[in-house]
Symmetry: C2
Subunit: 349 residues, 2 copies
């Protein structure tokens, strides 16, 4: 996926990582911390206690600190696959989806079932029909790759139906602090597992500090049992840096959202003005326009125009291309210029 | 397993982690490193290049950096479970074994098959009989929990038979730098995957930097593909610290082995003098004596004598107890005094 490709004159709308800097205070841990012994498998107590203040009815016991949100999802699915509640090992997935979900579901020996998004949002009628035969559902709002945010109404209906039917909800909320239209709505319930991370909010992707939160004590214990064997504690210094990040004032996040919103407005207008069919992003930093020949587009943009984009088919959207706008607005401008040039030559706009 | 239990007057022969300090130079990375973006899934190039110098016929491509040796084993088994070479999904395991192996084998949807050690070493006749029906075998020399090192002759016979039969060898060599009787012998072959770590050699357990090495390109690629979804890159700062550790002069390790050998001699003599039946440790920092009532022993030593030991049954050795001697010699002395007192009262010695 061109990860790690860089070079002069390349414009990357590829990888989904912020180009901004982490809060200064996270570096403090690097100057201070000196204990490199094994830590608790569940995660450092100071970090879990700090997180507990951000979630309702919670103590440090409701959290497991993981190697990024990825490991939190992997461990949760591995744990869920062993829950014996007479439900079939199926997981319902809105499509387009984050590209790792189907892999992780299959790795855990489960089967993905898809509900197609309508205008980038969950079609609750279809969801309702399909969820009955599943053990779990993955919700990802704000969504990578659609950039859409589900309505409060839909999220509350999902809370109710999954609770009524005894279905687990794995809610991937790694973009919860990057929403342009309202505050995040935390999905709640006795079988909800929320996954989050320090990567996107605090620009610490490479440190791989994520976590899961759940009020389901059994599920949390199963995850810890699994992690005891699969990776043990999460990097202890990274956890100390994440702990420092929890002390970051709210204004750090607000300042960032302002930057993301400007970029969002800029790229949305730019692509719309070309006449492309796309959904207005409401969160995260992706936009997923329809493109006539996506494979030719992604390939040629890279080879001939030095612009990196990701194929929609990696995310279950065969007729689209994903642009990450996690880059400087001047670069976005230059990238859009090249996109426009290509599409004009091809007669696609 | 009493992990994380500490307190005044407690003597812990429990957790297997060095009490010594990391090389000073690993701290340098903490003062210098400032890039927290995603890294390569396979691991930092500087670290992999440094490791390639330590392994024959190797380049950076033959390595994957992981969240400790645990993740390297987990990823390898997950990758092996998907290899379709008409062999049954069985993994041969010498018993006693490191307690996570059977879990990880089962997590990957495979089945553990056991060959019982004789005098703490592989019985090659039994091994030979059982290995034919397996897809892979795990070798762990020096061994946790036995402290034994396999003979060169056995290791070479294992190399040959597995190569002849097309069977994978997962060689867990995390204690390769802590051997008292000879240099480590690296098992080689086209289907060998060697797992190692910075935890034990450089006293960096909590940073969770491990790796796997293999000349099997397909297997390495499968592991990278899996890790792309399950955890992405390993903590990028930890990798920089591990890179610094690779520059540590040989004498650092020699000095450590001297300390470990003194402790080994001391605890081996102490337990032998009590009349306990045990194997002389040849590597790592564990000893696994027979104990008449292991469950009562472990429980009472902890509750009444504040001495932590681990039940042999966690490692597939029902009639034994594991002592880690990764602690100061004065503490070992005090711990042994308490053990002797208990065993005398119970009339077991």
């Amino acid at each position: 996926m061109f990860i790690g490709v860089s070079g002069k004159n390349i414009i990357s709308f590829g990888s989904g990582q912020p180009d901004l800097s982490p809060p200064n205070r996270v570096f403090r841990a690097m100057f201070r911390y000196r204990n490199f012994k094994y830590g608790l498998i569940q995660g450092n107590l100071n970090l879990r206690k700090a997180l507990a203040k951000q979630y309702p009815k919670s103590t440090a016991d409701n959290f497991v600190i993981t190697n990024g949100a990825s490991e939190a999802i992997d461990l949760t699915l591995r744990a869920l696959s062993k829950v014996n509640n007479k439900k079939k090992n199926r997981v319902l997935l809105p499509r387009p989806y984050y590209y790792s979900y189907p892999y992780l579901i299959k790795f855990a020996g489960m089967e993905p079932v898809y509900t197609n998004l309508v205008e980038g949002r969950i079609d609750f009628d279809d969801f309702k029909k399909k969820v009955k035969n599943c053990k779990a559902v993955i919700i990802n709002s704000p969504s990578n790759p659609t950039g859409r945010v589900e309505s409060m109404e839909t999220l509350k209906k999902i809370e109710k139906i999954t609770n009524d039917l005894g279905i687990y909800v794995l809610s991937d909320e790694v973009y919860k602090d990057l929403i342009y239209i309202r505050e995040n709505y935390l999905i709640k319930g006795p079988r909800v597992i929320t996954v989050n991370s320090f990567s996107k909010t605090y620009n610490m992707c490479g440190l791989r500090i994520g976590y899961l939160w759940s009020l389901d004590e059994n599920l949390v214990n199963r995850v810890i049992e699994t992690k005891t064997h699969t990776s043990m504690n999460t990097n202890i210094l990274g956890q100390e840096m994440a702990y420092e990040a929890t002390k970051t004032p709210e204004k750090f996040i607000k300042k960032q959202v302002k930057i993301w919103r400007e970029r969002r407005d800029f790229i949305y207008k730019g692509l719309s003005d070309m006449g492309l069919d796309l959904w207005k992003p409401e969160g995260a930093f992706y936009v997923l326009p329809k493109i006539k020949n996506p494979r030719a587009f992604v390939w040629n943009m890279f080879k001939k125009y030095k612009v990196i984009t990701y194929l929609g088919e990696w995310f279950g959207a065969n007729d689209r291309v994903r642009f990450s706008y996690a880059l400087d607005i001047n670069k976005i401008k230059e990238g859009l210029k090249r996109v426009k040039k290509y599409l004009k030559i091809k007669g696609e706009i």
